[in-house]
């Protein structure tokens, strides 16, 4: 079922990932999070923005282990660990955060 964002109807796949990466805007993340019962904080946005930059550079969504390591490098050790990321994104940091960021599901994610 497509999601409604700012009066536009955006196509998503059967798991809720945005069909077209270019249609993303911050509001997409806010709305998807709301459906999951989550309110996005600065800490969430840090990860979402990081993922968008990662995709822009490498054209893939990173596996969770790679994401964790890269976040640690960029934002510090207290954020580059699984516990911190799972608390922010309880459905799985790579899967859930990638969805909010409008990226495809990470390769290697089953």
């Amino acid at each position: 079922m497509p999601i409604e964002v700012n009066g536009k109807s955006l196509e998503v796949d059967e798991e809720g990932y945005l069909a077209n990466l270019n249609e993303w805007e911050p509001e997409v993340a806010t709305i998807m999070a709301k459906e999951d019962g989550t309110e996005l904080t600065e800490n969430h946005w840090e990860v979402i923005n990081f993922l968008r930059e990662y995709y822009e550079e490498y054209q893939i969504a990173p596996a969770v282990r790679v994401l964790t390591k890269a976040i640690g490098k960029k934002l510090g050790k207290d954020k580059g660990n699984s516990k911190y990321l799972y608390e922010l994104f309880p459905y799985g940091p790579a899967k859930q955060a990638c969805k909010y960021a409008g990226l495809p599901k990470p390769t290697g994610c089953v």
Partner: protein
Amino acid sequence: MAEPWEDDELDGPVRKFMYVNRRAPYGTIYALESLEVVLIAAAFEQDVSLVFMDDGVYQIKKEQNTDAIGVKNFSPTYRALEGYDVEKLYVEKESLESRGLTTDDLIVPVQVVEKDQLAELMEEQEVILSF
């Protein structure tokens, strides 16, 4: 029960996987499929190495532009391999030279190896997949 964040140490054996890439990056799906399975094997923390030989060396050529053929240029993804701890990238010397290329033409750091060395590296592997 373990918390989800305590569960990301993977058990099970680590095997030596070698992916041999021999075809041009576009025109067939082989190069992209190979890259996908490489990323999956790496996500499962296997001991992964890649070989580029024959037209496969073009997969990691700099400045690819796919606008005219209407497919995605996935070459930037090879630069993500380092973050996946995939650092054993071998290029066959003869293939590189016969195409007038040098390592300066490639988007990722590689080790250039001769045919004989490559044969030895292949001997060491547990699994070899050719694309």
